[in-house]
């Protein structure tokens, strides 16, 4: 098989993970531990598919998916930011809720096809580049957008004042509170933005990649995105690396199954993202580790001004 085709397929497989992981990154940088990610991806996937098939417009479907993800996460934020419920338990509950909700909404649409497919980009000159052309520039626009977003979020975090505030939000919310910046409001904002991105990842699967709706179609990609964020130690560039690595494994697995012969057992490969995450977590537990590789200090802790 050609390396170009494998890489191109890897980027497509990486795209939903990348959207979800970038969304998760924003939420966790804000100090909210979002374990509802798999549920939000499924809500995005079903909303995207249903609205696209009803409206006939892929754009409308994708926008609806982003909005649905935002609403889903706003509800999650209400529970964990405003009501300050336990984030682990609430997140798992929302994950299961999202799966059930998506199966319920999508039951009439199982097995249906979408009227159209997203056209691939054909950017003049760039698409004609050897190697890079077919790998990057002959993809659908959402693939390219995902990788552009990596750069945008990276610059946002390191080079802008709102990015500085976001980094502080997950580290030391009381510092922001003491200079008069609304901690609760910002946590809602990033929960909703992140939820939109996570849902877009789900909708990419059902609307662009497959395109079809099957119950529970994300098949654990939300958890992989969660793992990728930890693997990347909350750094956008490394999130991209993690997502592409997963994409490669996925693409290889697909090829191996299609051709019937595999150099490495695909089931073994399936397990690797989680093994990598465990290794990173163990490495992170070492005391001498640099602080910038550690999770945001306030991750998972509800903010309550009265209890400093």
């Amino acid at each position: 098989m050609s390396i170009e085709l494998l890489l191109a397929a890897a980027l497509v497989s990486a795209t939903p993970i990348l959207y979800a992981a970038l969304g998760q990154l924003l939420i966790e940088k804000a100090g909210v531990l979002n374990l509802s990610i798999e549920g939000a991806m499924l809500v995005g996937a079903v909303t995207g598919f249903v609205v696209t098939s009803l409206s006939g417009s892929m754009v409308v479907g994708l926008v609806a998916a982003v909005l649905a993800g935002g609403v889903f996460n706003a509800a999650f934020a209400f529970c964990v930011v405003t009501l300050r419920l336990n984030q682990v338990v609430t997140g798992l509950a929302f994950s299961i809720l999202g799966a059930g909700l998506s199966a319920f909404i999508g039951q009439a649409f199982v097995g249906k096809a979408l009227p159209s497919q997203m056209p691939n980009l054909d950017i003049p000159l760039l698409a004609d580049l050897p190697f890079l052309g077919p790998v990057i520039f002959k993809q659908d626009p959402l693939v390219l957008l995902a990788f552009v977003l990596v750069g945008v979020i990276s610059l946002f975090l390191s080079r802008t004042r709102p990015g500085l505030l976001l980094r502080t939000l997950g580290e030391s919310p009381q510092t922001l509170d003491s200079i008069g910046i609304p901690v609760i409001g910002l946590r809602y904002l990033y929960s909703i933005l992140g939820g939109g991105l996570i849902a877009l990842g789900g909708a990419y699967l059902s609307v662009v990649d497959t395109p079809t709706w099957v119950e529970n179609m994300t098949a654990g990609r939300g958890w992989i995105a969660l793992a990728v964020v930890i693997f990347a130690s909350w750094r956008p560039g490394w999130v991209m690396v993690g997502a592409v690595l997963f994409g490669l494994v996925d693409a290889y697995r697909f090829r191996a199954q299609a051709s019937g012969q595999a150099f490495i057992d695909p089931h073994f490969l399936n397990m690797l993202p989680y093994v990598a995450t465990l290794v990173v977590l163990i490495a992170m537990s070492r005391p001498g580790l640099k602080a910038r590789l550690r999770p945001p200090a306030a991750l998972g802790l509800p903010y309550d001004r009265e209890r400093r």
């Binding site: 390191s158 080079r159 802008t160 004042r161 709102p162 990015g163 500085l164 505030l165 980094r167 502080t168 580290e171 030391s172 009381q174 510092t175 922001l176 003491s178 200079i179 008069g180 640099k290 602080a291 910038r292 550690r294 945001p296 200090a297």
Partner: protein, 507 residues
């Protein structure tokens, strides 16, 4: 000496003439419930001066500074900056007036760089975040002589550098009155000198600095003026010049009557606790206890005295097994690796007692290993044991009630009752009377004296001079992690102990 115990009537400026002081605190009173933390506190801070605010724990230093910063709303009195009254109880108004405080606990975000930390409060309204400091900040750094690498993340900075960064941040926000709360507590002597050099340059730039401290020797070198507080009142305010260390120590401690003690008879029994060259380091590597060496024998009641934060609680925690010792040996009664003596930690809830369990369950924690109970614990036996524990100090509560509902005094009684139930040869108690009302404290003191009289070795930490002088057969004074005094009752002297407690350590 009595002439010093009056307020200096002249103040910094003659009324009706002379320069207006930068800060004027006028008749401020603040109470918390029944406790009068500040009573008619007045003092002046002239522009360009360094003022040391001195006093024992609980003298009201922090309260008045929090009032100046707008964190507390005083019941009475005014705070003026340049003669203009600052709105009381408003941190924003205080900040706008140019008042800035560096707290003992630094408020820096560890993962951000030094510059980003400053930028959080100074860079309002911009979108792009520069990675290098702006001109104004660099000028300020040069002017005051800071040596901080602004591009380094805070976690990589030493405590001294973090402190400089905090000061720089407050100055960058436009503060003209800088308040430093116990600034030398985290510093080595060399770093302290560097800090004072910076403080002098800040004062030379026309700003003023208030240093809150209990380390006399250091502060005397840098302060122009001294304000001493005792029991919520200002007992002295005036020039530093012409005061000796003894004068100031006496102002801080005051004249008190030594009460005739009801101490245990001084009989030395067998040695139950022995420390040799015990050093303890904090998680950041800073030394908390340095080379502690002493023994405690049966029949002795040894009190560890010191200003809070000088290593007393860490020393007792290490004896009780709550902290690891970095060097040296502690030998105390043990059965296997288990502690076989009574230990009363400073925090009852959470360490001494499990707040969510009932009193009868808490009474079992520890004694459950004694021979009286096997793997099977019949409720009737457990209940009888709990009742006995509660009766030791007459705690009026049902054995099934939740532990967290008890008052502080009762919690202490339960812990003591449990720990003393097995007649231990050694009792180690960390601040057993802290926060208790007079009657409860007296009851607990009597119990400890009785145990020592009966032959047990007792080691306790205390913040209360009076209490310690009354009951101790020996007093150990700690300062900067070192045991600087080991005194027998005939050597108990308020002045000596006060000076030992407040003396800075020569290194």
């Amino acid at each position: 000496m009595s002439s010093l115990s009056r307020l200096d009537p002249s103040g910094a400026s003659a009324p009706g003439g002379g320069p207006v002081p930068l800060l004027a605190v006028e008749d401020v009173s603040k109470s918390f419930g029944e406790v009068h933390a500040n009573t008619d506190v007045s003092f002046l801070v002239p522009a360009g001066s360094v003022v040391a605010l001195l006093g024992e724990n609980g003298a009201g230093k922090s309260t008045i500074m929090n009032a100046v910063c707008g964190l507390y709303l005083p019941e009475k009195g005014r705070i003026r900056i340049d003669g203009a009254v600052v709105e009381a109880g408003s941190p924003a108004a205080a900040r706008a007036a140019g008042i800035g405080m560096v707290h003992q606990q630094f408020k820096l975000v560890e993962t951000l760089t030094a510059y980003e930390n400053i930028s959080l409060s100074t860079g309002r309204g911009r979108f792009l975040q520069p990675s290098t400091p702006e001109e104004g900040l660099r000028t300020l750094m040069a002017e005051v002589g800071f040596q901080v690498d602004l591009s380094a993340p805070v976690w990589s900075l030493s405590l001294a550098a973090r402190q400089q960064l905090e000061i720089l941040r407050v100055l960058a926000q436009g503060a003209r009155l800088l308040i430093l709360d116990e600034p030398t507590s985290v510093l080595s002597p060399v770093e302290t000198e560097q800090l004072f050099a910076i403080v002098r340059r800040i004062a030379a730039s026309g700003r003023s600095v208030i240093l809150i401290s209990h380390k006399l020797a250091e502060i005397r070198d840098v302060a122009d003026r001294i304000v001493v507080m005792r029991a919520g009142r200002v007992v002295f305010s005036g020039e530093n010049k012409g005061l000796s260390a003894d004068d100031i120590a006496e102002l801080i401690i005051g004249k008190r009557e030594l009460r005739a003690g009801v101490r245990p008879p001084a009989r030395r029994g067998t040695r139950h606790l022995s420390l040799s060259d015990v050093s303890i380091r904090g998680r950041d590597g800073a030394p908390l206890v340095r080379q502690g060496t002493f023994d405690v024998h049966g029949g002795e009641l040894v009190v560890v005295l010191g200003v809070a934060g000088n290593g007393q609680s860490e020393l007792l925690d290490a004896i009780g097994g709550l902290m690891a010792v970095s060097e040296g040996v502690i030998s105390a009664p043990r059965v296997g690796r288990r502690r076989a003596f009574a230990f009363i930690p400073a925090r009852h809830l959470g360490i001494g007692l499990a707040p969510g369990l009932s009193l009868e369950d808490n009474a079992m924690l520890g004694p459950h290993r004694s021979g009286a109970f096997g793997a099977w614990m019949p409720r009737s036996k457990v209940r009888a044991h709990a009742k006995a524990v509660l009766e030791t100090f007459q705690v009026k509560a049902r054995v099934q009630s939740a532990t967290r509902r008890l008052s502080g005094g009762n919690l202490q009684r339960v812990v003591l009752g449990r720990e003393l139930s097995s007649s231990p040869p050694l009792i180690v108690a960390s601040y057993p009377t802290r926060g208790l009302d007079i009657a409860s404290a007296a009851q607990i003191r009597e119990a400890l004296v009785a145990k020592a009289s009966a032959g047990a070795a007792v080691l306790m930490a205390s913040e209360e001079l009076d209490e310690s002088l009354e009951i101790a057969t020996r007093i150990l004074v700690m300062s900067s992690g070192r045991i600087v005094g080991d005194l027998a009752p005939d050597a108990f002297d308020m002045d000596v102990i006060g000076r030992l407690m407040t003396a800075a350590q020569e290194s």
